[in-house]
Amino acid sequence: MKLIDLAALDHEEKSTADVINSVCEELGFDYASYATMNPVKGDVQGYANYPDEWKIHYGSHGYHHFDPTIYQSVLSIAPVDWSRFNQDENFNAVFRDAHDFGITPRGLTVPVRGPYGECGILSVTRDCSDGEWEKLKKHVMGDLQMAAVHAHDMVMQSGVLAKALYLPALSTREKEILQWVAEGKSQQDVGDILSISHRTVEVHMRSGREKLGALTTPQAIGRAIGLGLIAPG
């Protein structure tokens, strides 16, 4: 089982590294990483913007074989605060030397499950007080969830086979709503036109955006038009 730094393989996968970096910049974390396990070979592959010395230390000690922030977190459906691993000897083994590298054991991991049962994880850390950490979590958890699924889908879509399987399956409702937005209608308008609540419009839009791997509604509209799922407004 190998530890593969996907950023070292150049091509479009760079964009997942971008997601990782923007998670830190925009949401206020020190470091972030994305990892997924190849279900066939068991390799852990991913991106991290940790200092190189820590990456080398981590890899050379084989921490990716037993790091609970990877192996335990995929067992949860909700983000896992690393404080849950306080008593875990594997966790303490990984983070014993972390201080020397400027890495804090204060972090959390957002697990993502894909449609074929595959798993990915987005981990973030920040060196701060308890109060600050709780406040930050409350504030950014939704954004972290979106970033995690975004990073995961990006990695999954980079394969040729996955590309074919991942052609987004938009429902009639999702297409209909995107079509009306492409026509210049506001969310409230769309709700009125379709006689559904604005909350229903919102839940379908969010799902549509994520299926299309888009961060914003305009981006989702662009992609949906590009894929021929809706007509230009």
Binding site: Q72, S73, V74, L75, S76, I77, A78, P79, V80, R84, P111, V112, R113, G114, P115, G117, C119, K138, V140, M141, G142, D143, L144, Q145, M146, A148, V149, H152, A169, L170, S171, T172, R173, I196, S197, R199, T200, V203, H204, R206, S207, E210, K211
Partner: protein, 282 residues
């Protein structure tokens, strides 16, 4: 009170989960007549093997009285793989901020009517509060729940009406199943809390949940699990009944402890914990 059991802590809660699967068998198999797979009095399906989060309600007597199962819609879940006919051939929602809620049930045998602590209404609200608060903390904004029309009416009556439905209600075995949308918002949570009169934190720590559940197991009638009383046990019962002071009672307990090896572990626990409970059987 509520305990959330997921893939990380499930090894501690095997017995709680076992009781939960038995409850699900009684509700979905026996009472509602759903086409579910029941083995050995326990209802389980493939989604239970995918490390879902189980939101479990344990009452003050330490019994499992309600539960709900949560899964991410980004991965395999019931609406994408089993209940897709509800969606009229449409692909399901897929969003990191939408969770799916299934297998929602409460124990109508142990719980009564009304709005008190041991009522169907109270536990329904408690499980809902637990689920929505757990989801909200995880950054989740909405949940899609597979429910039947009876549950739908219960939700509407308890300050927790779905804001919309997906697809259309479809017969599943003897009952009808539908997909209801509910926001995991502060407004909804406080609505349920107001209705049920629950203003405390509903969550227990792992340790508290284990303690409460263990309490339920030992409080059961002491002599239900083992053989008719032996002569030696009868003797202890008589001694215990005859004991007039606390000191005499302690002496009997000491004697039981001295003769530990003659008993099975169950007998020993029964004798030591509730020596008076089986007196009437002697």
């Amino acid at each position: 009170m509520i305990i959330v059991i997921d893939g990380i802590n499930q090894h501690k809660f095997k017995d709680v989960l076992d009781d939960m699967f038995k409850l699900r068998a009684r509700v979905f198999g026996d009472r509602l007549g759903w086409e579910v797979n029941i083995v050995d009095g326990r209802e389980r399906d493939m989604f239970d093997d995918l490390n879902p989060a189980h939101v479990v309600s344990i009452n003050d007597e330490g019994e499992v009285v309600g539960c709900m199962r949560l899964l991410q819609t980004t991965g395999p879940h019931m609406l994408s793989d089993v209940f897709n006919s509800i969606l009229d051939g449409e692909p399901p929602l897929r969003s990191s901020q939408v969770w799916e809620a299934t297998r929602f049930c409460v124990d109508t045998k142990k719980l009564g009517r009304g709005r008190g602590k041991n009522s169907v209404s109270y536990v329904t609200s408690e499980v809902m509060i637990g689920s929505f608060e757990y989801a909200k903390t995880a950054g989740v904004l909405d949940s899609i729940a597979v429910i039947d029309p009876v549950m739908n009416r219960v939700l509407q009556r308890s300050g927790n009406a779905p804001y919309d439905y997906l697809g259309s209600a479809k017969p599943m075995g003897k009952v009808v199943a539908m997909a209801a949308l509910m926001d995991c918002s502060d407004e909804r949570i406080s609505g349920i809390r107001d209705y049920a009169g629950i203003d405390h934190d509903v969550f227990m720590s792992d340790e508290q949940a284990l303690e409460l559940f263990a309490q339920g197991k030992t409080e059961a009638p002491a002599n239900t699990n083992h053989q008719p009383l032996t002569d030696l046990e009868k003797y202890f019962v008589e001694q215990m009944n005859a004991a007039k002071t606390e000191a005499e009672r302690q002496d009997v307990l000491k004697l039981i402890e001295t003769l530990m090896d003659t008993f099975t572990p169950e007998q020993r626990t029964a004798l030591l914990e509730t020596p008076r409970a089986f007196a009437h059987e002697a």
